[in-house]
């Protein structure tokens, strides 16, 4: 059975190939259909070389949302914590090692890793499609490169690039953000 989520996701993946993510979603979503939590920012792991397939997408995304460098040190930690505190959902492009750290930091703010796609550095076209879909607010249930969210190698040296969404867990009471509780 195809779920509404899968249908919407696949439609967005297809749509994303024809233009910038923000433009694609406007033309695809039927009136009244809500996406999931809106994406607040795009996090970019600067310790991995971005595949060229993703570079253009990142630049396009700058027009519609904050793009935040994802570095793991005390200075950036404060920015990252604020980002997690203030966001409902975030898209990221990173190595497995960085995702591993971020997933655990995000947990403290009530966020969960909900969808993830991966590819090695040699062919990232499917990853670009997944990233475009994620940035559009979709969580495709099936797409090339899509992998079980939690099943990844926390590695940097393996050359695998991950695109993912973390979002606030729905069970966190409304009006009482995870941040308010965890910090």
């Amino acid at each position: 059975m195809i779920t509404r989520r899968a249908l919407l996701g696949n439609a967005l993946v297809a749509a994303s190939t024809i233009g910038p993510a923000g433009a694609a979603i406007a033309g695809v979503l039927p009136p009244g259909v809500q996406t999931h939590r809106a994406i607040s920012a795009l996090l970019i792991d600067r310790t991995v070389r971005q595949p060229r397939e993703l570079s253009a997408l990142i630049e396009v995304s700058r027009r519609s949302m904050p793009v935040v460098d994802l570095t793991l040190d005390a200075v950036a930690h404060n920015t990252l914590q604020q980002c997690l505190r203030d966001s409902e959902a975030l898209v990221g492009i990173s190595s497995g090692a960085t995702l591993f750290c971020l997933e655990r930091l995000a947990w403290d703010h009530g966020h969960r890793l909900t969808v993830r796609a991966e590819a090695n550095g040699t062919d990232c076209s499917s990853l670009r499609k997944a990233a475009a879909a994620f940035l559009s607010g979709a969580r495709p249930a099936a797409a090339p490169g899509l992998s079980p969210p939690g099943a990844y190698a926390p590695s940097r040296a393996d050359g695998v690039v991950h695109v993912w969404i973390i979002e606030r867990k729905s069970s966190v009471p409304s009006g009482q953000t995870g941040a308010a509780q965890w910090s």
């Binding site: 310790t47 793991l72 040190d73 005390a74 200075v75 930690h77 404060n78 914590q81 190595s95 090692a97 960085t98 591993f100 750290c101 997933e103 655990r104 930091l105 947990w107 403290d108 969960r112 939690g150 190698a153 926390p154 590695s155 940097r156 040296a157 393996d158 069970s171 966190v172 009471p173 509780q181 965890w182 910090s183």
Partner: protein
């Protein structure tokens, strides 16, 4: 739903409902998705029946809630396993020592209860990470420095309780030794304070460690006698300056005089900052500091000797190093304080070590602190500057082992004597194991001077998602433990998979220490609900044949007798 050991589904359901009344339903985690993050990502039993996974997790917000949760756990005889932030990677992560335990996740208890610049201390709850404490100090503009481990996302309190160490000045590096005052919820649900904190309204809880009567704080390190809900720590004033100084010595066996001399300087408190042993000959850090620019590539003759699959012939290596004018050893010192103190320390260090023939000394520029942000951004490790980071993860784990992707590491961490002879023996013994099993790593790994009076020899062994390869790693660790025990080298810390193995090595007088610890356990936790099996301490009903893996203790004991 996974059940705690010896607890019925009916009782567990009832207990969960009562837990929820205390913390709120949203802070009771039972779904697979939620419990996934309480697995030890670096488990050497990943996906096997022996993997220690939780049945549920609870996240209280206050010590009073902890009291209530402990009482409920007692009522239903449910094993609970407190964690602070659960970042104990390489030593067990967030996973319980006993499969099916309910994890008590204390992350929400992340208050900095008190911080005193004048007397240099802080009182924290378990959920306060090194990042949190650092940021709090920055935000308040306090003249205080912290000593942090790498990485810095761990709990200040949890790291101390696990025996963790940092990288700045000696009195602060051993985090448990830097603590002053503990508040703990005992297994019967009673709250207790140690030291001066036992006096209501005490004004010196964080200023006088001994307190009155026996000093029992150590009972809560690497144990399971309670849930520590607050802990005080001594902090240091920020040093005015930092400088690194390098001393090199030419020959392999010069390490003996080098370690002896530095040891005396440390015992005299002339050397207080961490010093790092390395080898320009082997191409590790330390050699670049004499000159500008990156380290020179290894001499081809040296490289050929280092690459010998039969192992490094030290005589040949020393000869090649001598021919190329490369010193064999270097000691890099981190020096802190006023400029004249740094220069005076350096004079003393050079005077003492200069007696070793061929020794060369160089002090790098004295730098005022804090360093500029752009310079910090380029550093791999900011720990020696009192700044936590996660940059250690930028290394990534080893790529592969035995054809399997490596996803993490598990530490084998023996403590060896602070002598050059012991360092040589340990380096050669562990290098032989590295070659035997083709483990990833340099031809020689060096001991760390992170402890004040002994060397630490932390070896990170690869962890994969293959049960076969992980079983091999467990076997290697057992072999390492046997080899070490036979030489009188004990581990200072380990992952839950090896708690029993390591405790078995501390077997003097027919395991008198373990028996004493379990006598205490029986007294304070008769129902055995508090972290059963943590550091191999169990209450009476869970001891016996199944409590200690068959043969393990005997094997280790025999090894220690040889």
């Amino acid at each position: 739903m996974k059940l705690p050991p010896n607890v019925s589904q009916e009782d567990f359901t009832a207990a969960l409902a009562q837990f929820a009344k205390v913390v709120g339903q949203e802070w009771v985690f039972t779904s697979d998705e939620d419990l996934e993050l309480y697995r030890d990502s670096y488990s050497v039993n990943w996906g096997e029946t022996d993997e220690r996974t939780a049945s549920a997790a609870l996240a209280p917000d206050t010590a009073e809630q902890v009291v209530e949760l402990v009482k409920i756990a007692n009522r239903y005889r449910i094993a609970i396993y407190p964690i602070s932030t659960g970042k104990n990677l390489g030593y067990g992560g967030a996973a319980p020592a006993l499969a099916g335990s309910v994890v008590l996740d204390l992350k929400r208890m992340n208050r900095i209860v008190e911080i005193d610049e004048r007397n240099g201390y802080v009182v924290v709850e378990p959920g306060v990470s090194y990042f949190d404490l650092y940021q709090h100090i920055q935000d308040k503009g306090l003249k205080l420095w912290i000593d942090c481990p790498s990485p810095g996302w761990g709990s200040v309190l949890g790291n101390a309780l696990d025996g963790g160490v940092g990288v700045t000045l000696a009195p602060y590096r051993s985090h448990f030794d830097a603590q002053c005052g503990i508040e703990v919820v005992l297994p019967n649900g009673r709250m207790m304070r140690t030291g001066m904190g036992a006096m209501p309204g005490a004004k010196t809880w964080q200023q006088f460690k001994p307190g009155f009567g026996p000093r029992i704080d150590g009972l809560f390190k690497q144990s399971n006698y309670g849930v520590v809900t607050k802990m005080g720590f001594w902090l240091m004033p920020p040093p005015e300056n930092i400088a690194t100084g390098i001393v090199t010595v030419p020959n392999y066996r010069d390490i003996i005089a080098l370690v002896d001399t530095i040891g005396r300087l440390e015992q005299s408190k002339i050397v207080q900052g961490l010093w790092t042993l390395s080898s320009p000959t082997l191409g590790t850090r330390g050699d670049a500091a004499h000159e500008a620019g990156p380290p020179k590539p290894a001499d081809p003759a040296i490289f050929a000797i280092l690459s010998d699959p039969a192992g490094v012939d030290m005589a040949k290596l020393e000869s090649a190093a001598s021919a190329s004018g490369t010193p064999f050893w270097s000691a890099e010192f981190n020096l802190y304080g006023p400029r004249r103190l740094i220069e005076a320390q350096w004079d003393c260090i050079c005077e003492a070590l200069g007696k070793i023939p061929g020794a060369r000394c160089k002090l790098n520029p004295v730098r005022p602190l804090p360093l500029p942000a752009e310079e910090l951004a380029g550093l791999f490790d900011t720990g020696p500057l009192g700044i936590p980071s996660l940059r250690t993860f930028s290394l990534g784990p080893m790529v592969s082992y035995d054809g399997e992707d490596v996803v993490g590491h598990v530490f084998f961490s023996p403590v060896i004597p602070r002598t050059g002879e012991a360092a040589i023996e340990a380096m050669e013994v562990f290098a032989a194991i590295t070659r035997k099993y083709r483990l990833p790593g340099p031809p020689l790994q060096f001991p760390s001077a992170i402890f004040e009076r002994a060397f630490l020899f932390a070896v990170g062994l690869p962890v994969t998602r293959s049960a076969t390869v992980n079983a091999k790693i467990r076997g290697i660790i057992r072999e390492l433990v046997e080899i070490s025990t036979a030489r009188g080298w004990g581990e200072y810390r380990t992952a839950p998979a090896f708690f029993d193995l390591i405790m078995g090595t501390y077997s003097y007088n027919d395991h008198a220490l373990r028996d004493f610890l379990e006598t205490i356990k029986d007294a304070v936790d008769p129902n055995g609900i508090m972290s059963p099996g943590r550091y191999a301490i169990r209450s009476g009903h869970s001891r016996g044949g199944s409590g200690y893996p068959a043969g393990t203790t005997d094997q280790i004991q025999k090894a220690s007798m040889q």
